[in-house]
Every structure is written in structure tokens, then in C-alpha cells.
């Protein structure tokens, strides 16, 4: 049977015959008796189950409740039990948490400790961002943030530093383990997927993970894409930017923020660190969600989607991929290989409205790329999430803006077009009226931002 091999707190583990949809969290707690990692929600929302995962490309935090064992093949996993040293000596963040009284009930503490240890290792000091994926109901966070600040200047302990180097050697030793379900190249995936078009592709598992653990979906076969080497490149060329389907939101944020700062900010508000470290662009598009955050931004950038089935490749404007709620233009056995968009002067403005700044799904996500020549709108690309059953281009608004003087006039000219483009739903995130109002307000913001007025919706927690 297939073998999954990884390092757990520095010790090699080899697993045969485990169900491929066993989550790391269940395995740790039930099979390994490592109960330090907690289950608070089993949905990726609370961070109580946070673990550190390292591979050649670095160390990151992930939520172990939506992480399947095959995704760990060839990597190094560290749980709270491994944050302290083999001889029991405490990690600086653990010492600081005790010293600053960072636990009240302490249930959230293991998750925080792992997030803090990872931020500490990576030298990250923006703790509001680094810790936004960890819920604490007792403390109000102040003592936790103080502990993180206090530990920041301490050196990274050896046992933590080791994770960065060990896996490479370890991964080669365990090469070829998870055959048949974890292709290592796009070609291999293409062949496997054509042969098994009913298989469910697992990228970062932040969506699929939920579907499986909640038993909404019980497919026969899974294909894990995490080991594919040639699907995660982000290529910033002179003419175009091409992003491989398996690039994570974290990686995209790092690579794109300079080109399109507003998109960088939008990504910063996508889920939490743990979610961004897992979630991929391919998954965010292929899941066809009406409230996915990347599609509106990518559509506004004029992106094209690159699909592949066997050796057949095709590409199409991203907006044409979404046909209807839950329906995409994707044939059986066909997968997303990449997304590309032209290199362009940055005109992109992204606005995300949600109840909370971090870790929240958009009620409305509006993205604008409005090009102005001689004071008039030359080209407008406007796309929204949360306004319809699929991510949608606001073509009436675009047309109404087109040729108008880029001023209040243009905004007025588009007034009625909003209703022609959208009849949004009322749901628990927002009402029809609130959605339409805010969509309109976002255009005003885009205009004001353009005039240099300092009103960025991204800097206010809605």
C-alpha cells in the first residue's frame, strides 16, 4: 500500500494504510495521543489546531483540522509538543506567554504558541496579522500580543531551526511514496485525471477539507496536488504575469503586492495566515464560489484562465469560466493549470466588505481597473463578488463609465447601471440594499482614492 512519510517533531513517521482523508488533527489526537493540538471548530476558523509545516520553501502555519495526511508527504510537521525542546526546555514564546499571563483558560494557547513560534522563526512582527487566525475568547489578546513582542528578539532555538534543513534530505529518502494519488508533475496529473475524471482534486484543501470532514462529499478517489513541482510558479514577465494553479495566496501576496498593492491588501484580508498558507489560486477559482476574493480582482486585471485536459490545453477569459451557481466551464478530467494577466500600469482598486477585517468571507468584493486618458474614462473593467451567483463583470457600469469625464459625472452616469448589472440577494452577510449601496459607494471610493484622498476601505474594519 501507499506510504506517507514525514517528520513529526523531528522524528520520522511512515504511515501505511491510513485513509487518505484522515485529517492530521484526528491522526495526532486519536492515533498518536498528541492531544496538545486542539479542536475548536474543525472548520479552519479558530486556529486551535495550528501546526507548523516546513519544506524546502520555508516554514508556515496550517490548520490541521483541514489538512489531510497525504498533503504532508516529505514535509516536517511540528505540533505544540515539539515547540519546546527535546529536553523540555521552553521556547522563548512559551516563556513569554507564561510571563505575560497570556492564557486564561488556556485552550487557545497551543494554537497561539505554534503561530507565535512560526512568526518568531520567520522574523514576522506584524502580530495583528500573524495571530488573526487564532481565536481567543478569554483575554482580549493584549497579553498575548505583548508576549509575542517580548519574545521577538530572542534567538530561534536549534530544534526549531532544524526543521528548515532536515526535510530536503528526508524527502528524497522517501521519494515515490504516495503513488497513484499524489502526482509529482502536471503531466502525471493530466494523465491520472483523464483516467479518473471522477476523482476530486485536492489543492490546499481549505474547501475540500470542509466538504469531506462534514461528509458532504464522499468521493471514491482523491488526487493530491501538493507535490506537483511545476504548477506553483509565479512568473512575472515583461508582458504578462502567469501564476500556476498551486501557488498559495501567501505566495501570490508576496509576489504581486508591489505590482498591484491593492490586490496585495485584498489578499492580506483573505482568511487568516493559516488559510492563506494553504489556499491556492486554482482552488479559489475552480470552486466557483460567488464570494471568492481573487476572481473579481483577476477579472478586473483582464485575466485568462489556462485549462488542461490530458495534453489538450485551452484558455479563456476568466469571467467566461463561471457559468452559473456551482457550474463552471470545465470538462471532466480538465484542470486549472494557471492564470495569466497582462503586465500593466497599476490601476487596480480592490474593496472587500465584511463584518470583520480579518478572517471573514466577503459580503461584497468590488474590483476596479479604470484607465483615464485626457480626463476621460478610456477603459473600465469592473468586477464583483457577492453581487450575483457567480463572480461577475459589471458590464453596464463599465459601458456607462466609458468616455465619461472621470469625476462625479462618471459616477452619476453609472448610477442606474448598477441595477441593470446586479440584483443581489439578501442573506446573513448583507441585504440587497446594503450590497447595492456599498457597491456604488465603492466606485466613489475608487474615484476618491484616485484623487489621492486618503480613504481606503481596506484600512477600516467594516
Amino acid at each position: 500500500m501507499r506510504e506517507i512519510a514525514f517528520l513529526l517533531n523531528g522524528e520520522p513517521v511512515e504511515l501505511c494504510d491510513v485513509p487518505v482523508t484522515r485529517t492530521l488533527l484526528d491522526w495526532l489526537r486519536e492515533d498518536r495521543g498528541l492531544t496538545g493540538t486542539k479542536e475548536g471548530c474543525n472548520e479552519g476558523d479558530c486556529g486551535a489546531c495550528t501546526v507548523m509545516v516546513s519544506d524546502g520553501s520555508g516554514t508556515r502555519t496550517l490548520n490541521s483540522c483541514i489538512l489531510f495526511l497525504p498533503q504532508l508527504h516529505g514535509k516536517a510537521v511540528r505540533t505544540v509538543e515539539g515547540v519546546s525542546g527535546p529536553d523540555g526546555s521552553l521556547h522563548p514564546v512559551q516563556q513569554a506567554m507564561v510571563r505575560h499571563h497570556g492564557s486564561q483558560c488556556g485552550f487557545c494557547t497551543p494554537g497561539f504558541v505554534v503561530s507565535m513560534a512560526c512568526a518568531h522563526k520567520n522574523g514576522m512582527h506584524d502580530f495583528d496579522v500573524q495571530l488573526a487566525g487564532n481565536l481567543c475568547r478569554c483575554t482580549g489578546y493584549a497579553p498575548i500580543v505583548r508576549a509575542a513582542e517580548d519574545a521577538a528578539s530572542e534567538p530561534v532555538p536549534d530544534w526549531i531551526a532544524e526543521d528548515g534543513t532536515l526535510p530536503a534530505a528526508f524527502a528524497t529518502a522517501s521519494d515515490g511514496g504516495v503513488s497513484g494519488i499524489a502526482p509529482e508533475s502536471a503531466d502525471e496529473l493530466a494523465a491520472l485525471y483523464v483516467a479518473h475524471p471522477d476523482a476530486v482534486l485536492v489543492a490546499g484543501a481549505t474547501d475540500v477539507g470542509l466538504a469531506v470532514t462534514k461528509a458532504l462529499q464522499e468521493p471514491e478517489r482523491f488526487l493530491f496536488l501538493g507535490g506537483i513541482q511545476d504548477l506553483n510558479a509565479i512568473d512575472v514577465g515583461p508582458k504578462a504575469v502567469r501564476i500556476g494553479a498551486m501557488a498559495t495566496l501567501s505566495e501570490i501576496g508576496d509576489a504581486i503586492a508591489d505590482l498591484h498593492p491593492s490586490l496585495g491588501e485584498l489578499i492580506r484580508r483573505f482568511g487568516s495566515v493559516q488559510v492563506r498558507n494553504a489556499a491556492t489560486i486554482g482552488g479559489n477559482i475552480a470552486n466557483g464560489s460567488p464570494v471568492g476574493d481573487l476572481p473579481p480582482a483577476l477579472i478586473a486585471l483582464g485575466a485568462r484562465l489556462h485549462l488542461r485536459r490530458g495534453n489538450d490545453r485551452r484558455d479563456l477569459p476568466l469571467e467566461d469560466f463561471f457559468l452559473d451557481y456551482g457550474v463552471q466551464d470545465r470538462a471532466p478530467g480538465e484542470f486549472v493549470e494557471a492564470v495569466s494577466f497582462p503586465r500593466q500600469t497599476d490601476r487596480l482598486r480592490c474593496y472587500k466588505l465584511s463584518k470583520r477585517f480579518d478572517q471573514d468571507i466577503s459580503a461584497v468584493c468590488g474590483c476596479f481597473s479604470i484607465r483615464v486618458r485626457n480626463g476621460r474614462v478610456n477603459e473600465a473593467r469592473v468586477a464583483f463578488g457577492g453581487m450575483a451567483a457567480i463572480p461577475t463583470r459589471a458590464r453596464h457600469v463599465e459601458n456607462a463609465l466609458s468616455g465619461q469625464e472621470w469625476s462625479e459625472t462618471a459616477i452619476r452616469a453609472a448610477r442606474d447601471a448598477w441595477g441593470q448589472d446586479f440584483t443581489p440577494l439578501t442573506d446573513l452577510r448583507a441585504s440587497t440594499a446594503y450590497r447595492l449601496d456599498s457597491a456604488r459607494n465603492m466606485l466613489t471610493r475608487a474615484f476618491l482614492d484616485d484623487q489621492g484622498t486618503d480613504t481606503n476601505v481596506l484600512e477600516v474594519a467594516p
Binding site: E81, H101, L135, G140, Y141, D427, L428, V457
Partner: protein
């Protein structure tokens, strides 16, 4: 047991040592509800009603019972019959009888060899429902024609002619508010509503239970009160209380929600049937659907004020919805409403209303935050319109020692004025406000509770001390207990180990609720230590051959004192402990009582908020909590309670709410859609500890855990209203609501 005026110098109390369980918590070693296992353990799931209100026509368990791995299926028939009162309510809530009363109401449970097998079997369980009309809104539930949740549930307190869903009524006050309003220069009357919120503890309810055919059992669970769990399980399963031994795990937050019993009897019933240990862990969605929301409310408040700020009269009607059972904390809502003020004319009425929602559970000062929201909003509006300073007005009317409380008694020594004065002096109150920002202040009140308490203190042979208390540690109380014992015994903090004893090893202890732990277990710890000291002195006296009365205890040593005591070297605790086997046997101090003197507590909060006029989004930019702690044993944990209450209040005021659809189904049963604040939502909450000693505690301790959530809803609503220029009367103040109010206001 009274306040010890002499004791004004502390060595340990008031310092900030590391907590004894600190390392367990940061290394993952601490064992919580779901962290226990037993050989042969089964995994259980509970099957819940998808309907808000339905008659259970039939439950067919046969297919589920035959499913792979299934060892037991239980329904209501597997529990005790003939219960009445609250035990019946608890049973009816944790396993439906004839009707499912809310979305998420348990109807059956299955135990199987794995959680997957249990989950698969759950889908084979066939339940036939006949859907009935439902109501989830408090005002609608009181209207004529609303579906009746339970016929005959109302008690004698309810005035004739009200809807049968109104099941209890509270009415109190003095004077005649109408006379007061006649004297006023301005009278404001407004309606306020608050939505149900959840305590939102991160640890889901979890337990591991074994119950043998002989009626003897063991239970491990996360609870705020294991003696209560023991008592309730015994009643619901018809076994003898002492035959069930309950151990409290570490508890991952409770805030009142884990004072109630939801799953433990179910696990034990399954175990009894399967004759195997059964583990039951609630999925997060079940936690939201079937445990602990607080009451939602609809309130009318009317207050009259003179131009000089004197409140001339106040009245309020508080309608609290507590789900499909009696018990919404409307009497607390009514009594807390005007508690901060000394009023000549005051009248408050509360109604307990049943709806098709989960049975409400206590949530940090149950009922009080909503009352403060309504009352303090009206006071803020009066101050605005009369051009008065909000703190001066509150000071002018403040309750003080000796003034008559709105609900009857005269106040003992209380610290409201001191919190107001401290707030007024705090730099926050006078700091300039950014343009478009608003500042809000509010007072809040909570009673605090004492309750039945037993503590035991045993000396080890090396002179260290083992303290057994019976109140689960929900926020660092073991540290405080160690400190108080160390203070009395004159030994280092590190020499005391505090354990939460199980039900078989200590006398009855009431739940960790009502902010009682540091007060009551603390008092009992001090008394148990004093009892120990007496015994220590006696041993020393015997060794020295002098009278016990001639021995005094100082700095961890027995010393001779008094004219005829003689001249001996101090005898340290370690020496007495070493020899105790030979000098009379083990030395154990203890204390049992139901103390009466839990001092009430008041707080004043100051909040700055900014409102984004285009999106309606609010940012809390600064927050200061000022609260009377009586005496802060471990100031860091007092501050922790202050910050935690304020943080929960911020969530409640701005974002958190139960959202039901037209079918009465809960729409947001998960953390992704039920938004509790994350780090980036909150400012670093500032705290000021005011210490006005409680006359009913040797060190002056008052409970601090709950009062901190009383002012935030009002303080934030005042800040937001002042920033937005419109009065916000409905919580939560989500962005869309603020945007609507801004639109309507302009």
C-alpha cells in the same frame, strides 16, 4: 470571615507570580474535556432536529442499531421518568420528549466504535416529524396568536391576560415614577433591542463517561461545576449521587455556558446501555445550535432628568427571550437596570418569554449588560440634550453606601463613586477626540454570588502544602488560591499546590459562577489555612510543653508569645511537618460554609469609536475599563477578567448575533459566520483596578469576572451614537444597521 481591618500589609497577595499551570498550558500538556481516553472507548454523536418546532411522530432506531460498529442508541425512553422542576427542563432540553422545540434540539444519540461509524449510523436513524408553527422573536412570541411553546408553563407571577409564552414576571421598585417624571425638565422614553449571543468558548463541550450495570460510574468533563453535573446526572439517570464520581477537566472557557448540563447524561446513558466507556464531543455547529445563547431582549426605558442632572424618576420594562424553556434572566435585567443610581422614584418590570430557540444559559452577568445598554443609552441622550457631562451626572446620582437600591435593600460599602472618579481622572476621558470619532461612557453593576464551598488544605511531610478546592479554574484561580494560602501560612507561593478536587474527595461545591471563586473559595482557603495554623501551633506548643494559646504563627514559623511562653527558637513549618507523624498524625485544615458576604461590584468604562460613514463600519480605537475589585489578589488575572469582559462586550455590541431564517433555523452556526473579535479587531484594552474592600471577605475581595461585561454594550453604543450623530437602539450595530441609521438620520 469579615474584612480583616488589621490585614493591610500583604507579602504575596497583590504580586504577580507565574501561574502554577502556566507550563502545562503553553506546552499542550494540560488535559481538557476531549483529551481523555479509556480502553474500549466508544464515540458518540447526537442526532438533532432540523425543525424549529415539530411533533416527533416516530423514531425508528432499528437500522442505526444494526449498522456497523454501533453499540448503543438512546432516546428519551432511556432516561428517568417522573422528574419535575428544573431537572425535567434539563432532561427535556438534552433529549426531546414529544416535541422538538428548536432547531438543534437533540432527539437521539448513538455510540459506536469510531466517530466515523457513529456518524454513518446517524444517517440511518429515521425520525418522522410533523412540523408545527414556530416563533423565535421575543415580541412576536408575546403577541396574540403566537404558537404556544408549552401550555401551562407560566407561574403565578404572570399577570392575567398575558400570552401563555410569558412564563414569569418580576416587578419591583419604590416611589412613583410618574411623580418623578412630573418634576423633570426632560423625559426620554425609548425602545431598545439586543440579539442573542453565544458565550463563544473555544473548547466545545466534551466528556468521557462510564456507567456500569451496578449503577457506579466515572465521568470526566469540562464543566464549571462538577458537583452540579453529578447531581443532575444522578437525577436524570435515576442513580445514587455518590455512586457517580465526576472529575472536572481543564476547562476551555465557559463564561456561564458550562454551568449548564447538555451532554454528560447522554454519554452515561449510552455507556450504561453499551457497557463501555463513551466519549462525546460536541461539534462546533451543535455548540451554537444547542448550548448556551444568552437571552435576546426587547426593552422600554423611560427616565426623567432635571437641568442640573438630577434623575427624578425611572421606569423600565424588560422582555427577555430565553428559548423553549423558562429561565431567561429577566429579574436580573430588571434589578441591574437602575442599580447604579440612587432614585426616589423607580419601577422595573421583567418578563420571561418562551420561544423556539435553544434554552438560554448564563453568560457573564446574565441579563445585566442588556439592561445597562438601554438605561445608559437614555442617560447619555439626556446628558447630550441637556448639555451635561456624562460622568458628573452619574456621580450626582450614584448609589453609595447607605442609599436604597432600586430593588430594595440598602447598599453596603460599594465602589461606584470611586470608579467614576477614577474614570474622570483617567487621561482617556480628557484626551482629544479625532474628527468623526465619538466617546461613550457607561456604568455597570453585578451582584456577585458566594455559594456553598468546601476547601481542604493538607500538609506534606516536607512542609509544602496541597490545597484542594472544588471550583474549576476558569481563569487562573489556582494561582490566587496558592497566593492566599501562602499569605496566611507565611510560606513561599511555590510551596502550595492547588488541585481541583473531584466529587469523591471533597465536600459539595457550587458551580464556578457568579464571580464567586476568588471570593468564596478564597475565603474558604484563608479559613482552612487559619485552621491549619491553629493545628500547627498546637503541635509546636506540645513540643515546647507550653499552652497552645502561647504560640503565635509568623512568617511560616511557630513562635512563643505572651508573658509566660518561654524562650524557644521559632519552629518552621518544615520542622513541624517532618515530625507530624509522631506528634499526632496528619495535619489537615479545612473549611466548609455558605458565606453570605459576596460584595457587589460596579464598573465604569470609557470607549472611543470611529464610524466609517460610507460602509457603516465601526472601529474601537481606545478602551478603558475601570472596575472595583475590592482587593486584587493577582492583579494580572483581575486585569485579564476586565479585558476579557470588555472584548466579549465589543463583539456583542458590534457583530455577534444569532441569525434565524423564516423557518426558524439558525443561519450562522460556526465561527466563520458568528464573528467573535480577533486580535486586529481590538485595541489594547486599558484597565484600572479600583480597590474598595468588600466588608464580607477577610482581604476585601469582590468577584470581578462578570461586571466587566455589563458596561460595554452601552458604552460602545454611546460612543457610536455620538460618532454617527444618531442614537443606535438595536444591537448588534453591524455596518448595515449603522449605514441605515445614517441614511435615515440625514
Amino acid at each position: 470571615m469579615a474584612f480583616d481591618q488589621e490585614k493591610d500589609e500583604f507579602k504575596v497577595v497583590g504580586t504577580r507570580p507565574d501561574r502554577p499551570d502556566g507550563i502545562d498550558k503553553v506546552t499542550g500538556r494540560a488535559r481538557f474535556g476531549a483529551d481523555a481516553t479509556a480502553p474500549g472507548m466508544l464515540h458518540a454523536v447526537i442526532i438533532r432536529s432540523p425543525h424549529a418546532h415539530a411533533r416527533i411522530v416516530k423514531i425508528d432506531t432499528s437500522k442505526a442499531e444494526a449498522a456497523h460498529g454501533v453499540k448503543a442508541v438512546v432516546t428519551r425512553a432511556d432516561f428517568a421518568e417522573g422528574l419535575d422542576g428544573e431537572n425535567w427542563n434539563i432532561l427535556e432540553n438534552l433529549m426531546a420528549g414529544e416535541r422538538a422545540l428548536y432547531d438543534g434540539h437533540a432527539v437521539a444519540a448513538i455510540a459506536a466504535t469510531s466517530s466515523l461509524a457513529a456518524r454513518d449510523a446517524a444517517r440511518m436513524l429515521e425520525v418522522e416529524y410533523e412540523v408545527l408553527p414556530h416563533v423565535t422573536d421575543v415580541d412576536k412570541a408575546m403577541q396574540e396568536g403566537a404558537p404556544v411553546i408549552r401550555e401551562g408553563a407560566a407561574d403565578g407571577s404572570v399577570p392575567a391576560g398575558m400570552h401563555p409564552n410569558v412564563v414569569r414576571c418580576h416587578d419591583s421598585g419604590h416611589g412613583d415614577p410618574e411623580d418623578g417624571f412630573a418634576e423633570a425638565d426632560l423625559v426620554i422614553e425609548e425602545r431598545f433591542t439586543t440579539e442573542a449571543t453565544h458565550q463563544g468558548y473555544i473548547e466545545p463541550h466534551a466528556c468521557l463517561g462510564t456507567l456500569g450495570p451496578d449503577g457506579r460510574g466515572e465521568l470526566w468533563c469540562c464543566t464549571q461545576g462538577h458537583w452540579n453535573v453529578q447531581k443532575v446526572c444522578a437525577a436524570l439517570l435515576d442513580i445514587e449521587t455518590s455512586k457517580l464520581r465526576v472529575t472536572a477537566s481543564e476547562i476551555g472557557g465557559g463564561f456561564g455556558g458550562k454551568t449548564a448540563v447538555f451532554i454528560e447524561p447522554v454519554a452515561l446513558a449510552l455507556s450504561r446501555k453499551a457497557n463501555r466507556p463513551v466519549k462525546l464531543v460536541m461539534p462546533r455547529a451543535d455548540v451554537f445550535r444547542a448550548t448556551g445563547p444568552t437571552a435576546s431582549t426587547s426593552m422600554d426605558v423611560k427616565i426623567g432628568m432635571k437641568k442640573d442632572g438630577t434623575i427624578t424618576g425611572a421606569s423600565g420594562e424588560f422582555r427577555c427571550q430565553g428559548g423553549a424553556f423558562p429561565g431567561a434572566p429577566m429579574e436580573f435585567t430588571a434589578m441591574c437596570a437602575f442599580a447604579p443610581y440612587a432614585l426616589k422614584h423607580v419601577h422595573q418590570v421583567g418578563y420571561d418569554v418562551m420561544t423556539n430557540r435553544p434554552k438560554q444559559a448564563a453568560y457573564r452577568a446574565p441579563g445585566s449588560p442588556m439592561a445597562a445598554f438601554a438605561v445608559e443609552s437614555v442617560i447619555d441622550e439626556l446628558c447630550n440634550r441637556l448639555g451635561l457631562d456624562p460622568i458628573d451626572v452619574r456621580l450626582k446620582n450614584a448609589s453609595r453606601e447607605g442609599t436604597k437600591a432600586n430593588f430594595g435593600p440598602s447598599w453596603d460599602r460599594i465602589g461606584l463613586v470611586e470608579t467614576l472618579e477614577a474614570a474622570k481622572e483617567h487621561p482617556h476621558f480628557s484626551a482629544p477626540l479625532a474628527e468623526g470619532a465619538g466617546r461613550g461612557i457607561s456604568c455597570g453593576f453585578w451582584f456577585n454570588h458566594a455559594g456553598e464551598t468546601a476547601v481542604q488544605l493538607a500538609l506534606s511531610e516536607d512542609g509544602t502544602v496541597q490545597l484542594s478546592v472544588g471550583t474549576p479554574d476558569i481563569g487562573g484561580s489556582r494561582a490566587s488560591m496558592c497566593m492566599m494560602a501562602a499569605e496566611e501560612l507565611g510560606i513561599p507561593y511555590e510551596d502550595v499546590r492547588t488541585t481541583i478536587a473531584d466529587t469523591a474527595t471533597l465536600g459539595y461545591n457550587e458551580i464556578s459562577h457568579g464571580s464567586r471563586v476568588t471570593y468564596a473559595s478564597g475565603l474558604a482557603t484563608i479559613e482552612a489555612a487559619r485552621d491549619t495554623v491553629k493545628k500547627l501551633c498546637k503541635r509546636a506548643a506540645a513540643k515546647w510543653g507550653i499552652d497552645a494559646e502561647a504560640v503565635e504563627w509568623r512568617d511560616g514559623c511557630a513562635i512563643p508569645s505572651g508573658p509566660n511562653a518561654g524562650d524557644f527558637d521559632p519552629m518552621p513549618i518544615k520542622e513541624i511537618a517532618r515530625d507530624m507523624g509522631k506528634t499526632g498524625g496528619p495535619i489537615v485544615g479545612h473549611f466548609e460554609a455558605t458565606p453570605e458576604g459576596a460584595g457587589v461590584s460596579f464598573a465604569t468604562h470609557i470607549v472611543d469609536a470611529e464610524v466609517d460613514r460610507e460602509t457603516g463600519a465601526t472601529t474601537i480605537t481606545r478602551y478603558t475599563v475601570v472596575q472595583d475589585a475590592g482587593k486584587a489578589i493577582h492583579p494580572s488575572y483581575v486585569e485579564g477578567q476586565y479585558q476579557g469582559g470588555a472584548a466579549q462586550g465589543i463583539g456583542w455590541a458590534l457583530n455577534e448575533e444569532y441569525v434565524y431564517d423564516d423557518d426558524g433555523r439558525l443561519q450562522n452556526a460556526g465561527f466563520l459566520d458568528y464573528r467573535i473579535p480577533v486580535a486586529s479587531d481590538l485595541p489594547m484594552i486599558d484597565t484600572v483596578i479600583v480597590e474598595v474592600p468588600n466588608p464580607g471577605h477577610p482581604y476585601g475581595v469582590r468577584g470581578v469576572g462578570e461586571t466587566s461585561i455589563c458596561p460595554p454594550l452601552a458604552a460602545i453604543a454611546n460612543a457610536v451614537s455620538n460618532a454617527a450623530g444618531v442614537r443606535m437602539q438595536d444591537l448588534p450595530m453591524r455596518p448595515s444597521r449603522i449605514l441605515e441609521a445614517l441614511k435615515a438620520g440625514s
